[in-house]
Symmetry: C2
Subunit: 331 residues, 2 copies
């Protein structure tokens, strides 16, 4: 039987993962759930934000749903972001964030893009040093192998989903070596895909174009931190961070998450939007091959987006529980 | 007499700097102009994209207007971006990009923000290495001194222009040392400015908020590459890159430029929008203390924005020359 691991995390992470579990159970998804812990609360209790058992549970599961975690704003010895740690430890190398025009009033029509982000290196390599209070250095590491792998992933994704254009985003006019290597590698991989239209764009211009003319994009492929920033800009057109879902694909398993954070300002109030986590669940169900369940859930989400009720981030007054019930009522 | 250095550069850089010179002459600005060269064409001819004489001319001038340069998309030995080189060589440490709602139909009302970007270090340190075809590394260097200086600049600017809120943008949840140092330093400097409301924001969220709710910002202060990306996103609300102006302030002199590039696709057609360069000229005139000229030019630009004619980037069909004439007709 399909095993799904659930990691609630902190803040509204708990509320939205609990909501997703309720919905998946109502959908009678043929899967068993295991729960595991991670995050700031876990760190405070155990000294480890990503315990070994959690990593083991993720690796043993067919797929994982990850809520959101809080992180300390001060440096805290030994603390490292569990989602970043998990991406690296399990080599979840492809971070994929689709953005489509939602069935919401006033939504901008014609947006249907996906940001494919390298998820294991770049400025997320974790290689930083600090010289006293005066100076700190971080290494941005780009390898040919990781660049090749992520662009190949993007090509296969584009071909599988019938997209015809890939935009390679870099800053090779300044970062001649690191972005240069990414760019060269990407263009070489793409030269083997003559069915795809290839475009390259500097990251500042890509952010600008995403903010003003998102319909011009189909698939963007880029390095880690650029993908982090660009996918947040893109999510505006999908109805905002309350709706944005993210997949972290590895070779054997995958971790799905809402793009939003743990939102301490609204945690515990029961008003978090569960739809990003439910959209992440659709991607998860597709990944484990439960396609008909994925479709039913996706249809239900679209119906609720079209008709409400809406949580405050979508200018409504509904609670998480009311949105969950509305989704379940669609089944 | 005030000496203004003009560097046209490549592509439409030539057209817009020529346009600015015409306008400044029509305005009878009490200044003498000197011309200097830089860019890709200069590199191809002389082997140096930023000749020594150009640097000397910039340092000898009260202020410089810089058009735009092309850069090779392949790595070319010895080529380095002249604008990046100039910022570093002359220690033009504060890159400042104001964005305001323009008097254009359909413009989003209520936007009035400025991005203050550290301009000498970070990922622009130029310290990159490449290990064969397999791996490349760039150093992101953050110092306390440069962080302090840019945040102090932002504080003084906010106080001088009557703004009350500063947003410190970083990614300290991942870049704990480099962004951590920037963040700590910024918050320490800001604790001496109790008249200002201080907010901090992660760069991905800042890009998202700039793309959807720009009116919430007054002054943003951030590191080099983040500022590069965020200022392009912000420029959408000011009428786009065809209107966005940039100042690079040092301790003794300053360099002003349009944010747009050399636009090889439209170069030579006489349809480049000169207004970004004219807005940069307003900032330049203010910097050298020619405030009444700055005001007259700013008023003329606003009138042309309100009534046209418009170049193609603003959905019009006017030429550069027609826009220049319309501006001059306002004097
Ligand atoms: C929480 C943070 C470490 C993470 C990232 O930067 O990758 C988040 O912003 C994301 O995009 O998933
Ligand atoms: C041309 C390029 C080197 C430059 C930068 O990255 O700073 C430009 O994008 C800018 O914002 O002025």
């Amino acid at each position: 039987m399909t095993r799904l691991c659930l990691i609630a995390g902190d803040g509204i992470g708990r509320e939205v993962v609990q909501a997703a579990r309720q919905v998946l159970e109502a959908l009678a998804v043929p899967a068993e759930f295991v729960e595991a812990e991670a995050g700031w609360e876990t760190f405070q209790r155990t000294g480890n934000a990503l315990p070994e058992q959690t990593l083991a549970a993720v690796q043993a599961a067919n797929s994982t749903l990850f809520g959101a975690v809080s992180s300390p704003s001060q440096r805290v010895a030994g603390y490292r972001s569990p989602i970043v740690g998990m991406r690296k430890a399990i080599d979840l190398y492809a971070c994929v964030r689709p953005v489509q025009t939602p069935p919401l009033a006033n939504a901008r029509a014609g947006v249907n893009l996906v940001v494919v982000r390298e998820n294991t290196e770049g400025l997320y390599s974790g290689q930083e040093t600090r010289e006293g209070d005066e100076r700190a250095t971080a290494q941005r590491i780009i390898t040919r192998q990781a660049s090749e792998r992520i662009v190949q992933w993007a090509v296969q994704y584009a071909q599988r989903t019938g997209r015809r254009k890939i935009t390679v985003v870099h800053k090779a006019n300044v970062l001649r070596e690191t972005c240069g290597l990414f760019r060269e590698t990407a263009l070489r991989v793409l030269s083997d895909a003559p069915d795809l239209q290839v475009e390259e764009m500097l990251v500042d211009n890509a952010a600008y174009q995403l903010a003003r003319a998102p319909e011009r994009f189909e698939v963007l492929v880029t390095t880690n931190l650029f993908g982090d920033i660009l996918s947040d800009v893109a999510s505006v057109w999908g109805g905002g961070l309350g709706l944005a879902a993210s997949a972290n694909y590895g070779t054997r398993t995958a971790v799905f998450e809402p793009v939003h954070g743990s939102a301490p300002d609204i945690a515990g109030q029961g008003i978090a939007n569960p739809l990003a986590t439910l959209s992440a669940s659709v991607l998860m169900l597709e990944f484990v091959g439960l396609n008909s369940y994925a479709e039913r859930l996706q249809t239900a989400i679209q119906a609720v987006l079209a008709n409400g009720p809406y949580t405050p981030d979508l200018a409504g007054a509904a609670t998480t529980a009311e949105v969950v019930q509305a989704v379940i009522d669609q089944f």
